[in-house]
Amino acid sequence: MDHITFLVAVVIVTALAFDFTNGFHDTANAMATSIATGALPPRTAVLISGVLNVVGAFLSTEVARTISGGIVDDTLVSPGMIFAGLIGAILWNLLTWLVGLPSSSSHALFGGLIGAVWVGAGSHGVNFGKVVEKVLVPAVASPVVAGVAALLATYLAYRLTDRARKDSVTQGFRIGQVASASLVSLAHGTNDAQKTMGVITLTLISAGALGHDAGPPLWVIVSAGLAIGLGTYLGGWRIIRTMGKGLTEIQSPQGFAAETASTTVILTSAHLGFALSTTQVASGSILGAGLGRRLAEVRWGVAGRMAVAWVITLPAAALVGGLAAAVVQHGGDPGTAVVALVGAALATGIVVVSRRNPVHAHNVNDAHGVSIRTEPPAKVGAAA
């Protein structure tokens, strides 16, 4: 194990930390509407989702061979840049969680890597054409498709069951929601856990600890699966509230329509090789389901803030990743340690601030807003 240098060890720990934030950031995608409609008790929902994420992690044998799918030039990427990129992604994930905004963990990871590679290897290391093709186009198209599908499905579901007994209808769709939400969780586990496995595996390969074309060792699969599962189980309650209650008041037929739309968009895209963000798909579906029911109130202010978060996720994570990369590159191991400590301190700070107005399993459905009372103290730019 003498191949495992200090830097490689730090990268592995950071990758697992990112995986963890990815899990709790994305619990909402699968479970927010089920929790909001009472189809599942909050604790049960996150438990099911966590377990299915772990199962999904073990099922995905085809671990990403590239870190970024060609968005950055993988041959130029050093473990230091991966580390810097991960720090950017983690801090952005935590900050958006603090304010209760669902944002894409994949975009945060891509953003962090783009910033780190840009600073570390120059702008030629970033493939901007691929950024448009793999990130921007799916980011615009997928929520629209999911939203339209959910809107139409919701409208038809209400038309069809218009004259039926309301309690049976509600109960029927609640049961349907459990199945559709579980599918989203499973799909999430197979997709997102393997991203972290890919990052760790490629780091080990670049450090010479694994041969070229080696698959992930068992401990990588186990730890990545557990990290995302544990994160999912702890649940990003702030984001769950925004998605389940903040955008619109969800009833069970809408929840079923939204989750079905998310599942089909995720599965058809994966089948045709599109990378997309589960978060954006799920938000689009919920918005569509809100519009599909007559008299349902859609809070456009919340939707607007979410859209802004989507737009700035990639550049913000890139900024932090770039700053961190600069310190790592010039500071060597001490620089890496400094970045890790500053990152950990900021993360702790964000968690402390969240305690002022905590959102948890017991109060997640009580309100539709997430407030922190005071200004968030975490200046992302200070991460390096």
């Binding site: 044998t61 599908a149 038809l156 349907g176 079905t260 058809t268």
Partner: protein, 73 residues
């Protein structure tokens, strides 16, 4: 830069079609169990309708799991 509009259109069409189909069939199943007027004959009919619809939905779920799990391919 190369955009595969064809694949994008496919994703859109298949997603839209599948979502609407599943939700409509499921809604018909729910309707079978929740009709307001309820004579004995209608009840049996509703039950049959619900069973068929939910079986169809279960088949779609099974297909979804098949798509998710790479070992099945």
């Amino acid at each position: 830069m190369h955009l595969d509009w064809n694949a994008l259109g496919q994703v859109a069409a298949v997603s839209l079609g599948a979502t609407v189909a599943v939700v409509v069939v499921f809604a018909l199943g729910v309707l079978g169990l929740a009709r307001p007027e309820d004579t004995r004959a209608q009840h049996a009919l509703g039950l049959t309708q619900a069973t068929l619809c939910f079986l169809a939905c279960a088949a779609v779920v099974a297909y979804g799991i098949y798509l998710i799990v790479p070992q099945f391919h």
